[in-house]
């Protein structure tokens, strides 16, 4: 009962580790560089035939997921939240992965029977 001060509204928000200005700009540069790499692949490496589309496309997806990680973890601050909150947000995303696998497999099947 003595801990009632903990239960009033927003005082539960413990002052946890936050993003410093330097860290914010670091993440900005990481995102910019990843985007620049995507552009180099699309505008230089693929047209010159250094990368085939079969290599470029998986690379785009890996780079996109890296950008997504940096946005969610640092800009949306999820990396610094409690583990239970991280899991309750990250695990439902597995359902999306399942749907991607199922529907792309289905699309491929339609392509094959056409």
């Amino acid at each position: 009962m003595n801990s009632s001060e903990n239960s009033t509204g927003n005082s539960v928000t413990v002052q946890h580790e936050t993003m410093s200005k330097k860290k914010i700009w670091n993440v900005f540069w990481i995102l910019t560089i990843i985007t620049a790499v995507e552009f180099i692949i699309a505008l230089v490496l693929v047209p010159k035939g250094i990368f085939s589309v079969g290599i470029a496309n998986p690379l785009y997806i890996i780079l996109t997921l890296m950008k997504a990680f940096y946005i969610v973890a640092f800009f949306m601050h999820l990396k610094f939240e409690k583990l239970t909150l991280i899991y309750s947000i990250a695990i439902p995303i597995l359902f999306i992965v399942a749907l991607i696998v199922a529907m792309l497999y289905e699309g491929n099947y339609w392509f094959d029977i056409r």
Binding site: M1, T18, Y60, I71, K82, M103, N108, F111
Partner: protein, 226 residues
């Protein structure tokens, strides 16, 4: 008697009530769960795009469809959408900077960074309006597709339908985000959060704004690059 003292003992673990087990406040958790549901909505749209594209024998080449940019004669592939991506990333950065200033209760700084965030959002919407207008003038719209497939065959309208639906849905999110940011900006100016003692609302709307940026990262990859 010892059992009585056990019952009376104050329970202090996170899941015994009286505090947020996630140690974030209610509004922030609700924003996160809304964003998960929104992620599912965008995922279904993008997965529909993916499965239709996988089942098609050929598909329009994005380097040719999206090569127009204002001020560039003849066009240059990806340049314009690159600028749009950069604007959105930058406005995400100014949003985190507003949140960071909020932690220090620096009212003026929060307001300044919110202005930059709003301007970034408006700039993005302006670019998208230009692109839509340009594509519409080329004869592209829902149900109309003037572009040929990469192999020279006539393309179905799936391409334009999906493009306008998905970028339109995303643009609508950007528009809502700009409106929310403007509301937050005026609340900051009015001193609402200063009186409240914390700038948590900036953080909550910030989550939404970053999510909009996050979705664009995926739209950009799957429409313009792949």
């Amino acid at each position: 008697m010892s059992s009585v003292t056990n019952i009376d003992e104050i329970k202090s673990s996170p899941w015994n009530g009286g505090m947020s087990p996630f140690s974030v406040d209610y509004g922030k958790i609700m924003m996160w769960f809304f964003l998960i549901s929104d992620a599912f909505t965008f995922a279904t749209l993008l997965i529909a795009y993916g499965s239709i594209r996988f089942s098609a024998s050929s598909w329009p080449d994005p380097d040719i469809v999206f090569q127009s940019a204002p001020f560039i004669e003849g066009g240059a592939p990806l340049v314009f959408v690159g600028i749009m991506t950069f604007i959105l990333i930058l406005s995400s950065v100014t949003m985190v900077l507003a949140v960071e200033a909020g932690h220090r209760n620096a009212k003026k700084e929060v307001a300044n960074w919110m202005v930059w965030t709003i301007l970034g959002g408006i700039a993005f919407l302006g670019c998208q309006a230009w692109e839509w207008n340009h594509l519409h003038h080329q004869g592209a719209w829902w149900g109309m597709n003037p572009f040929l497939n990469a192999d020279g065959t006539i393309a179905s309208t799936n391409f334009t339908n999906l493009f306008f639906t998905i970028t339109g849905f995303h643009g609508f999110h950007v528009l809502s985000g700009v409106v929310l940011n403007i509301i937050i900006y005026f609340n900051v100016l009015a001193g609402t959060y200063e009186k409240r003692g914390h700038y948590d609302m900036v953080e909550k709307v910030g989550l939404y704004w970053h999510f909009v940026d996050l979705v664009w990262v995926f739209v950009f990859t799957f429409f313009y690059l792949v």
